[in-house]
C-alpha cells in the first residue's frame, strides 16, 4: 500500500507491505530521523511523542504505537520539525533551555513535541498536558516552569500545518473504510479481521506480543463514527470518538466522569484511544465502562445491515468474552440524559496516568429524599466491568445516611471476589470499594489530589 502524509513540511509517500509498521520504527530506521526516541515501546513514557495535525485538529500522539496507515492524509511534526526552518528555536524549546528543563535529554524530544502541540492548541493545563511524558532526571519542576514561560509566546508560523489533499490510500495490505457502511459490508466478509481504531491496545499486540493481526481495517477515515449527538433524551457517542473528546463532551453533564477521564492514560493516549475500542476489547480494567454502566448507557452494535442495542453491562459476558457476533462491531454508545448524581472514583498507585486498580461509579439519584434508581458499577473487581447489585439493593429506597452507607459497604463482598495482582491485593480492592462508598457520606467526596498546598480543596 502507499501511505501519503506530510512530514516536517515535506510530502512523503511510503510504500510498504506491512500495515503494522510503526511511525517510530519508520522514522528511526528508514527515514534516519533519530530525534524521536523509544523509551518503552508501549505508549506509556511519551519519549516518542510527535505532533499530528488532521481534520480532527492538532494532537500529540505516541509514535511507537502508531501504525503508518493511521497517518494517511495527515501532517506529522517530529522534534526535528519544531524549530523554525531558519533554526530559530520554538518558544517551548527556548524555555526548556532557559529553565534547565533537560538533563539527560532523552525524554526531551517527547516533551518538546507534546509541549509544542499544547502550545499550538493554547492549552494551559500544563501538568495534564505532560502527564504522559516521563522524566527520570529533573523532577519536572523546570519543565512545568518552561510550559508556563512559553505559553505567553505566539505560535510560530511554521507550526500552522494544513493537512494535504487526501487521496484514498491505494494498494493492498489493509482496508481503510470510508464510513460505517463500508466497514459493515467488509467486516461481514472478514469477521476474523482486526479493527484498528486508535491502536493504543492493538499497538502492543504488535510491539510486545508479535501477534499476527491477519486482515486489518483502519477505521480512522470513518467520520460518521466520530459524531457526538445530543437530544432531549440521550447523548450518542460514536464508537470512533476519542477519549479526549468524550471527556469534553461529558464535562458539562457529569463532571466527575470527565475528571476521571482526565486521568485516563495521558493526552497522547486519550487523543488516540476510542470509546468503541475501550468497550469492545472487553478489558476488566477499562475505565469508561463503569461510569457508562452506572449512567444506564446502551451499546449499539451493527453487523452488515443489522443493528441492535443492548444494555452496556450485558455486553460483558465473562473475562475475554463479549456479546459480539462475528462480523459485528460497536457503532455507538448512548447515555440517557439525567440530572447529575454520578460519583466516580479511580484508584491507582500513581494518581495520574496509571491503570486503575479499582474504578468505581456510583449513580445515586434521589426521589423525595430516598435513593431511587441506584446504579453502582466497578472495574477491576471482576473479570468484567460489573454492577454491584447487592450494594445497589442495600442503597435503593433508603436515605443516604452513614448507617445506610455502612450497611451497603458490607455488601461488596457479596458482589465481588476480586483478584490479587501487581496493582492491588484482593483485600485492598474490597477495602477501597468500601472506602469509596463510605467517603460519599463525608459530604466531601473530593479527592486528596484536589488539595492545594495549604491542604484546602481547590
Amino acid at each position: 500500500m502507499e501511505i501519503t502524509f506530510r512530514l516536517n513540511g515535506d510530502d512523503v509517500t511510503v510504500a510498504t507491505d506491512d500495515p503494522t509498521l510503526t511511525l517510530l520504527d519508520w522514522l528511526r530506521e528508514d527515514r534516519g530521523l533519530r530525534g524521536t526516541k523509544e523509551g518503552c515501546n508501549e505508549g506509556d513514557c511519551g519519549a516518542c511523542s510527535v505532533v499530528v495535525t488532521s481534520r480532527d485538529g492538532v494532537r500529540a500522539l505516541n509514535a511507537c504505537i502508531l501504525f503508518l496507515p493511521q497517518l494517511h492524509g495527515k501532517v506529522v511534526r517530529t522534534v526535528e520539525g519544531i524549530a523554525a526552518p531558519d533554526g530559530t528555536l520554538h518558544p517551548v524549546q527556548a524555555a526548556m533551555v532557559e529553565r534547565h528543563g533537560s538533563q539527560c535529554g532523552f525524554c526531551t524530544p517527547g516533551f518538546v513535541t507534546t509541549m509544542a502541540a499544547a502550545h499550538l492548541a493554547g492549552a494551559t493545563d500544563h501538568a495534564d498536558q505532560v502527564a504522559g511524558n516521563l522524566c527520570r532526571c529533573t523532577g519536572y519542576a523546570p519543565i512545568l516552569a518552561a510550559c508556563v514561560d512559553a505559553a505567553e509566546a505566539p505560535v510560530p508560523d511554521h507550526m500552522h500545518d494544513e493537512p494535504p489533499a487526501t487521496p484514498a490510500m491505494v494498494g493492498t495490505g489493509a482496508f481503510a473504510p470510508r464510513d460505517g457502511n463500508d466497514l459493515a459490508e467488509w467486516y461481514v466478509d472478514h469477521p476474523d479481521a482486526t479493527l484498528v481504531a486508535g491502536a493504543t491496545d492493538v499497538g502492543l499486540w504488535v510491539t510486545k506480543q508479535f501477534r499476527d493481526l491477519g486482515d486489518v481495517a483502519f477505521l480512522a477515515g470513518c467520520e460518521d463514527l466520530k459524531v457526538i449527538e445530543q437530544d432531549a433524551d440521550v447523548i450518542r457517542i460514536g464508537a470512533m470518538v476519542d477519549m479526549e473528546r468524550l471527556r469534553h463532551a461529558v464535562a458539562p453533564l457529569h463532571p466527575q466522569f470527565a475528571e476521571m477521564l482526565r486521568r485516563y492514560g495521558s493526552v497522547q493516549v486519550r487523543n488516540a484511544a476510542t470509546v468503541g475500542g475501550n468497550i469492545a476489547n472487553g478489558s476488566p480494567i477499562g475505565d469508561s465502562p463503569p461510569p457508562l454502566i452506572a449512567l444506564g448507557a446502551r451499546l449499539h452494535l451493527r453487523r452488515g445491515g443489522e443493528r441492535r442495542d443492548i444494555a452496556l453491562e450485558d455486553f460483558f459476558l465473562d473475562y475475554g468474552r463479549q456479546d459480539r457476533r462475528p462480523g459485528e462491531f460497536v457503532e455507538a454508545v448512548t447515555i440517557p440524559r439525567q440530572p447529575d448524581r454520578l460519583h466516580v472514583a479511580k484508584l491507582s498507585k500513581r494518581f495520574d496516568q496509571d491503570i486503575s486498580a479499582v474504578c468505581g461509579a456510583f449513580n445515586l439519584p434521589t426521589t423525595d429524599g430516598v435513593l431511587s434508581g441506584v446504579r453502582v458499577a466497578f472495574g477491576g473487581m471482576a473479570g468484567v466491568p460489573k454492577r454491584a447489585r447487592a450494594v445497589e439493593s442495600a442503597l435503593e429506597g433508603r436515605a443516604l445516611t452513614a448507617d445506610v452507607l455502612r450497611a451497603a459497604a458490607d455488601r461488596f463482598a457479596d458482589d465481588f471476589q476480586p483478584l490479587s495482582d501487581m496493582r492491588a491485593s484482593a483485600a485492598y480492592r474490597l477495602a477501597a470499594c468500601r472506602g469509596m462508598l463510605m467517603r460519599l457520606g463525608t459530604g466531601s467526596a473530593r479527592s486528596v489530589m484536589d488539595l492545594d498546598a495549604a491542604g484546602v480543596a481547590r
Binding site: 533519530r34 535529554g105 525524554c107 527520570r136 484508584l347 477495602a431
Partner: protein, 772 residues
C-alpha cells in the same frame, strides 16, 4: 569567571532539537546486525535441553549463539567472575539470558528470541529474605559485622528500649534510554564499542576478556547516556560483550538494545532491605545504643552488592552521634535479578533505618521528632573557610562515626534550624495536628529529616581520574576526561572549570565522547564523584598548558610567569593584551606544546574494610528537607503538598545544575518510597516490567509548593573550587515524604505506624485500618 555561573547544560540545544545522539542513534555501517537474548522463564532449575531450531529458521535470523558455542564462556561480572554471559546449566533467575539471536533487524531478533524450547528441571527458587536465610544462601561468607562501643551494655543500661523492623523495597532505575550497545569490528582482532555506560573502562576490560585480546585492542566510547542512576555501572556489560562477540564472529557491525520489558526483566535494580533494630534511649529521646541487622537481597550474582551493603552500614548513623552501635549485614543470594548500583548505593537504605529509629524513639518519648533528631545530631563545627576553629556548645572534641571517621565538617545544626525557620515547621506542625483532630477525611503529616552522605568510593583506589586537554592554534580547546555524561551536567561543569582556568570564553571548549583511547584506566562515573575527580584532573591539565603559555609569554615580555594573567578571553602580560586565540597561535609558532594530560587522586582517605575502621570519605555532603503530605483515609491515596529543601553543595560549580540534581534526586527518592513498587510472583517472575505496571513519579506528583535552596558554605576540603558532590545526596530527601506519611498514620491511629516502604496507597490504607 565561569565557575559558579548557572550556565545551561552543554547539550541543552541538542536535547531540545533532537540532535543529541545516544548509543542507538549512532549511524551504523551497512549490513549492521541486531541482537536479542532469549531468556529463562523460570527462576531456578537445571537447563537440560535448549532447542533453538525454530529460532534459527525464523525470518531475518542470521545466527544463534548458544552456550555450547562459547568456550570459554565470557563473564559479565564487575566483581567476582560469577556472571556467565549465557546460562551454563543452572538457571539463576527468570530473565537470565539463555542464548543470543543475531538477526537483520531489532524486531526480527526480538521476535525470534521467543521461539526456543527450553527444558528445565524446575527447582524451588530462593526468592525472599526468609528463603535465603533458610537455605543459607549468602555472599561474603556470612554476615559482616562492624561494632563501635559496647552495644549490649548500652542497651542493658538504657532507661528505655524499643525494637522494630522495616521492610524497604527495591527500585527500578527507569533510565529513559534503555541499555544499548554497538560493536564495530576492527583489524587484527580489535573492536570499537559504543555503549550507554557509566563505566567505559569496565566495558573495555570485559570485552577484551571476552575476545581474548589485551585491553589496547578494545576502544570503548560513550558520548552521553539517557540517564544512568547506577543502572549503567555494570548492567551494560552483557550487551557490549554480546555485540563484540557477534561482531567478531560475523565480521559485521552488531548492535543491541533491550526493549523496555527486557530491560526490566534482565537487569538489576536497587537492593531491597529488611532492617531490624534494637535501640536503647533515655526519656528525652537521646539514643544510647543501636543494634542493627541489615538483610540485603542481592539477587543471583554478587555484582556490586558487597560495597552497596557496606555503604548502607556506613550510613547507619546518618546525622547522629550514637555512643554505641553494632551492625550485622547479611548479603543474601536469591534467584532474582542481580541487584546493583542505584543512586545512593545502599546509603539510602542505611539512612532510612536510622531515621526510622529516631522517629520511633520520638514517638515513644512523645516529643517532636525534629527535637529528638536535633538532640542526637553530631555537633556543628565552625570554620573560617580554611580551618576548623572549634566546635559548638558541646566543646572541642571532634566526635567520630561508628567506623572511626572524625565528623569535622558537620553543619546540620545550623542548616536544620535555618530550614525549620524558612519553612515555618513548628507552626505548621501544630496547625496540622489541630486540623487532623477535626477531619474525618483528609489527614496530613509532616516530617523534617537530615542527610549526611559520605563522599568517595569506599574502594579507595577508585578515587582517581585522568584528563587530556588539547589547545589548538585557533584558540579552540578540545578536552576529554574519564567521567561520563548521563544528564548530571558533568561535562558542563568540567567545561566551566577549564574555561575558568584559561580565563577564556566557555564557547571555545568542546568535550567529546568519553573514550578509553583518550583517557585510560577510568573509574565509573559513580559515587557522586564525577566533578570532584575529573574536574580536578582537567584543572591540572589546563594549568600545565596555561603555565607553558605563561612561561613563554613572560620570557618574550621579559617578565615572570606570575605576571601573566588569563582573564576575559585574553592573556595579559607586561602591558600587552592578546586575545586568547592569538596567545595560543603565538605559543604554537614558538613550538610550545599545547597538549597535556592531567591526573588527580583524592588525598587523605584510608579504609580497612575488614575492621570497619578508617576514613573512607574525603568529606560529607549535607542537607535537610521538610515535606508535608495529605492522605485520604478512605482509600489510602495521598499527595505531597509541600517540600522545602536546603542543601549543601559547597561552593556550587553551577547552581542551576546543582538545583536540578537536588530537585530530580528528591522526586526520585520520593518515588522509591511511595509509588514505585516491584512485584515478583511466587515463582520469581517480575510482574512489574514496564511503565504500565511500574510507576515512576509524573509531573503532577511534584509538590505544588517546592522550595529548593543551596546552603551557603564552602567545602572545608580542598576540592575543585571547594564545591561538593551533589549527585546522590539529595535522593535521600525523599525519606521525609515517607516519614510524613508515617506521621499522618500515627496521628490517626494513635499508635506508631511501623510503615513499610514503598508506602503505596494500599500500604497506607492497611496501616490506617490497622490491618498491616
Amino acid at each position: 569567571m565561569t565557575v559558579a555561573k548557572p550556565l545551561p547544560h552543554e547539550s541543552a540545544i541538542l536535547h531540545v532539537t533532537g540532535a543529541a545522539r545516544y548509543a542507538d542513534d549512532v549511524p551504523a555501517p551497512a549490513g549492521c546486525l541486531h541482537l536479542a537474548f532469549g531468556v529463562a522463564e523460570v527462576a531456578a532449575g537445571r537447563l537440560s535441553a535448549l532447542d533453538v531450531e525454530a529460532v534459527r529458521t525464523a525470518p531475518g535470523v542470521v545466527a544463534v549463539i548458544t552456550p555450547d558455542d562459547l568456550d570459554p564462556m565470557p563473564d559479565c561480572s564487575p566483581s567476582l567472575h560469577d556472571e556467565p554471559l549465557l546460562c551454563t546449566g543452572d538457571v539463576q533467575y527468570a530473565g537470565q539470558p539463555l542464548y543470543l539471536v543475531i538477526a537483520t533487524s531489532h524486531r526480527a531478533a526480538r521476535r525470534a528470541a521467543r521461539l526456543h524450547v527450553a527444558e528445565v528441571e524446575e527447582a524451588r527458587p530462593i526468592l525472599t529474605i526468609d528463603d535465603a536465610l533458610e537455605a543459607e544462601a549468602w555472599f561474603d561468607g556470612g554476615p559482616r559485622v562492624w561494632s563501635d562501643g559496647d552495644v549490649d551494655a548500652a542497651l542493658a543500661n538504657a532507661p528505655r528500649t524499643l525494637s522494630g523492623t522495616i521492610e524497604i523495597g527495591g527500585q527500578e532505575h527507569f533510565y529513559l534510554e534503555g541499555q544499548a550497545a554497538l560493536a564495530l569490528p576492527g583489524e587484527d582482532g580489535s573492536c570499537h564499542v559504543i555503549t550507554s555506560t557509566q563505566h567505559p573502562t569496565e566495558i573495555q576490560h570485559k570485552v577484551a576478556d571476552a575476545l581474548g585480546v589485551p585491553m589496547h585492542a578494545v576502544r570503548s566510547e560513550v558520548r552521553r547516556m539517557g540517564g544512568g542512576f547506577g543502572g549503567k555501572e555494570s548492567q551494560g556489560n552483557a550487551l557490549a560483550i554480546a555485540c563484540a562477540v557477534a561482531a567478531d564472529r560475523t565480521g559485521r557491525a552488531c548492535r543491541m538494545r533491550y526493549d523496555r520489558d527486557d530491560d526490566f526483566v534482565i537487569t538489576g535494580k536497587r537492593h531491597d532491605f529488611r532492617i531490624g533494630y534494637d535501640v536503647g534511649h533515655d526519656d528525652d529521646g537521646r539514643v544510647l545504643g543501636v543494634r542493627f541487622r541489615h538483610w540485603v537481597r542481592c539477587g543471583w550474582a554478587q555484582d556490586l552488592s558487597l560495597p552497596v551493603a557496606d555503604r548502607a552500614m556506613l550510613h547507619a548513623d546518618n546525622a547522629y552521634d550514637i555512643p554505641a552501635m553494632r551492625i550485622e549485614s547479611w548479603r543474601l543470594r536469591t534467584n532474582t535479578q542481580s541487584a546493583t548500583a542505584f543512586r545512593g548505593f545502599g546509603g539510602p537504605q542505611g539512612m532510612l533505618g536510622i531515621e526510622r529509629v529516631l522517629d520511633h524513639v520520638a514517638d515513644a518519648v512523645g516529643r517532636d521528632p525534629l527535637a529528638v533528631r536535633r538532640l542526637n545530631y553530631y555537633p556543628d563545627r565552625r570554620h573560617d573557610g580554611r580551618h576548623d576553629v572549634g566546635g559548638d556548645v558541646r566543646g572541642d572534641v571532634v566526635p567520630t562515626t561508628h567506623y572511626g571517621q572524625p565528623v569535622d565538617d558537620f553543619c546540620l545544626g545550623a542548616l536544620t534550624d535555618a530550614l525549620a525557620e524558612r519553612c515555618d515547621y513548628a507552626h505548621r506542625r501544630d496547625a496540622i495536628r489541630a486540623a487532623n483532630a477535626g477531619s474525618d477525611h483528609i489527614l496530613r503529616g509532616i516530617a523534617l529529616t537530615p542527610v549526611k552522605f559520605g563522599i568517595s568510593f569506599t574502594l579507595t583506589h577508585l578515587n582517581q581520574a585522568g584528563a587530556l586537554v588539547h589547545v589548538y592554534a585557533d584558540g579552540s580547546i578540545h578536552l576529554n576526561h574519564g567521567g561520563t555524561e548521563m544528564g548530571q551536567g558533568l561535562h558542563s561543569k568540567v567545561a566551566q572549570i577549564a574555561a575558568h582556568r584559561f580565563g577564556c570564553d566557555p564557547a571555545r571548549i568542546r568535550i567529546t565522547a568519553t573514550d578509553t583511547g583518550k583517557v585510560p584506566n577510568t573509574s565509573a562515573t559513580a559515587a557522586s564523584s564525577g566533578a570532584d575527580l575529573n574536574g580536578m584532573a582537567v584543572a591540572n591539565a589546563c594549568d600545565e598548558i596555561r603555565n607553558r603559555i605563561g612561561a613563554f609569554l613572560a620570557e618574550r615580555h621579559q617578565t615572570t610567569p606570575d605576571a601573566v594573567t588569563f582573564a576575559d578571553d585574553a592573556v595579559a602580560v607586561g602591558g600587552a593584551e592578546y586575545p586568547f586565540h592569538d596567545a595560543d597561535a603565538q605559543a604554537y609558532a614558538a613550538r610550545i606544546s599545547l597538549s597535556a594530560t592531567g591526573f588527580y587522586a583524592t588525598p587523605d582517605i584510608r579504609w580497612d574494610r575488614d575492621k570497619g575502621q578508617g576514613r573512607p570519605f574525603y568529606y560529607y555532603a549535607y542537607g535537610a528537607s521538610c515535606s508535608e503530605v495529605a492522605v485520604d483515609r478512605f482509600t489510602g491515596e495521598y499527595r505531597i503538598l509541600r517540600t522545602d529543601i536546603l542543601h549543601d553543595a559547597g561552593n556550587s560549580l553551577n547552581p542551576a545544575l546543582d538545583r536540578g540534581q537536588i530537585e530530580g534526586g528528591f522526586v526520585q527518592g520520593a518515588g522509591w518510597l511511595t509509588v514505585e513498587e516491584l512485584v515478583w510472583d511466587d515463582r520469581g517472575r517480575l510482574r512489574t516490567h514496564a511503565p504500565s505496571t511500574y510507576k515512576i513519579p509524573c509531573a503532577s506528583d511534584v509538590p505544588p509548593v517546592f522550595n529548593v535552596d543551596l546552603w551557603d558554605g564552602s567545602n572545608r576540603q580542598d576540592t575543585i573550587y571547594r564545591s561538593k558532590a551533589v549527585g546522590e545526596p539529595p535522593f535521600m530527601h525523599g525519606i521525609g515524604v515517607f516519614l510524613a506519611l508515617s506521621d499522618a498514620v500515627t496521628q490517626r491511629t494513635g499508635r506508631y505506624a511501623h510503615l513499610d516502604a514503598p508506602a503505596t496507597p494500599e500500604r497506607m490504607l492497611r496501616a490506617l485500618n490497622g490491618t498491616s
